[in-house]
Symmetry: C2
Subunit: 341 residues, 2 copies
């Protein structure tokens, strides 16, 4: 029994938190990190992050540098963006070396939707080298796709899926508050969303993963997003939002088949949202009505999803995988070492 | 693309309902059933059950008879009891022939708990013949084990798991109402539970599957069961329960490690239970508090779990498998034919 060797690609807030959690896990061995920021390159990961990691685990400017100095990890954790093609390019050196990749890239939840051809190429490469790649996370990756699909496992038939998520963004990190438009002029937010520079990423991918899992062929996926406007001043450590400015977003995405709405996802994420929660309704036989009090939110859940998927990913067949193709992802926080498969 | 051939072992209420659902699924081909009841042997399945199935699908007194007349199915659905060793014996001819088995046998949810040696033998046999075997269901198999485990996938750490289930047994079939003690003298019920002849089966297996998934080594699993006593007369189509007699059960099962209760399962199943629901609480980071309004109950959910697991089972490696080792079980009711892997 040996520990699973991991390395981290990207040292933004999620990448750093991923390493802090990895440092707590007895079954994982952090061998280093990859980050292009020249301020960080060369430093010891543990010293840079203030967490107990071996001094040999250093920050390298490229995967090649990591491999040359620390050898190959079993899994590379990738937290460096939402775009599938860009993430594929960043993951490529690892995949070519047969190293599996778990990524929080939202589009990789269902990469065929926007990067069909490139996904086929990367899938073929993985099958040659023995690597696996999967996109994971909380949303997309759990609340609006994997959890509803898991619930349908006890349904004879399903006619529609509805998921509602209300997040109080005051509790989240600065980049997320920025991404939802906090403090912006509502017209500016609409423009930014229309050009793909604002809003929740991965919504269409959640709809596509749901439809794929349920065996539904959708005719169309439609997405809309409106700003939520401040009625009174709202102040966070990162933003000071005046009345009339943007607090966050109300984003909706539907999947239609045969003229009917079969999937409806509804996300309200704004500063000060009341009664945060997640809710899943499965219309079917039996119907299911599930409420998650307070919702599943926060960076804790995101890094947990990323680290928890590691044993499931290593147990899967090589290729570009969907979360639904892996064995169940669970939390093994007790620190019992996992056997490499 | 061809349909998955299935056969049904056991024609009790669940076995019959399983075939009725299979008749609706375009991706499944029912080739026959096995039932020792001589009244049924030789009849056509569809005619005996009143559902549209090919006339060639007949009821045979043994798996050998089925194989001789209809060939081998891809999967045998087994719904003929709660005892792991007895179910292994019934599944053996199929497994020896390389036919995979999905079973509602409660003890097969975590068969090593009570049949460790036999499970190792059957596992070795399956690896030789290419067959897979899995136990599935709603409880055990979903509400109190797989669903909580799925939820922990977004937790950094988990310290305890609590699941509560309240079922109004008036809505369930006669054998279930009998099994929970409906109408019995409370003293008689206690005696029957103590000797293993009453109560909810598979509780300890849910605790064991949870602990196994989370990587926890339990010191002990403790189970208690008390009758719920009628305060006034309760009448169902199957039972007429006088005040002072048993309406059903309140069964509890805990898993302890290091002197602490890490897992607590609480089941109230009785005639006329108010506010039926399931609830899952994960103590951890983040903590999760999940409520399933009305609960997941009924034979619809049980047969759905059984049929939905078929593609996941066929995608797994040969051997005795746990539900947590399979790809996610989802409902594919749309009838899109599944490819055999």
């Amino acid at each position: 029994m040996r520990r699973i060797k991991i390395a981290q690609f990207g040292l933004g807030p999620i990448g750093k938190e991923s390493l802090r959690l990895a440092a707590e896990r007895a079954d994982l061995e952090v061998i280093g990190a990859v980050e292009i920021d020249p301020v960080l390159a060369g430093r010891a990961v543990g010293e840079a992050l203030g967490c107990p990691l071996p001094a040999a685990a250093r920050i390298h400017p490229s995967f090649a540098g990591l491999a040359a100095h620390a050898g190959l990890p079993d899994v590379l954790l990738h937290t460096a963006g939402s775009d599938a093609s860009r993430s594929y390019a960043q993951a490529l050196p690892a995949l070519e070396a047969g190293v599996s990749v778990a990524s929080t890239c939202e589009e990789l939840i269902f990469p065929r939707l926007l990067a069909s051809e490139r996904t086929a190429e990367i899938d073929a490469l993985c099958r040659r080298t023995g690597a696996r790649l999967v996109g994971t996370g909380v949303n997309p990756g759990f609340v609006m796709d994997v959890l509803p699909l898991c619930l349908t496992g006890v349904c004879r038939e399903v006619s529609a899926v509805y998921v509602e998520r209300v997040v109080d963004a005051r509790t989240r990190r600065q980049p997320l508050q920025a991404k939802i438009g906090s403090g912006q002029d509502p017209a500016e937010f609409r423009t930014r969303f229309a050009s793909g520079r604002a809003g929740h990423a991965g919504f269409r991918q959640s709809v596509a993963l749901l439809a794929h899992g349920l065996g539904w062929r959708l005719d169309e996926i439609r997405e809309t997003c409106e700003p939520v406007i401040a009625e009174s001043r709202v102040v966070t450590p990162h933003f000071d939002v005046a009345p009339g400015r943007t607090l966050g977003l109300h984003q909706r995405c539907v999947g239609l088949a045969g003229g009917e709405t079969r999937i409806r996802l509804d996300l309200q994420m704004y500063l000060g949202a009341s009664l945060p929660h997640d809710a899943v309704v499965i219309q079917g036989r039996p119907g299911l009505n599930v409420h998650l009090q307070g919702g599943v939110a926060g960076d804790d859940a995101t890094v947990a999803a990323l680290l928890n998927v590691i044993p499931s990913l290593l147990a899967a067949a090589p290729g570009v995988r969907l979360l639904t193709e892996l064995p169940l992802t669970v939390c093994r926080s007790a620190g019992d070492a996992c056997l490499l498969p």
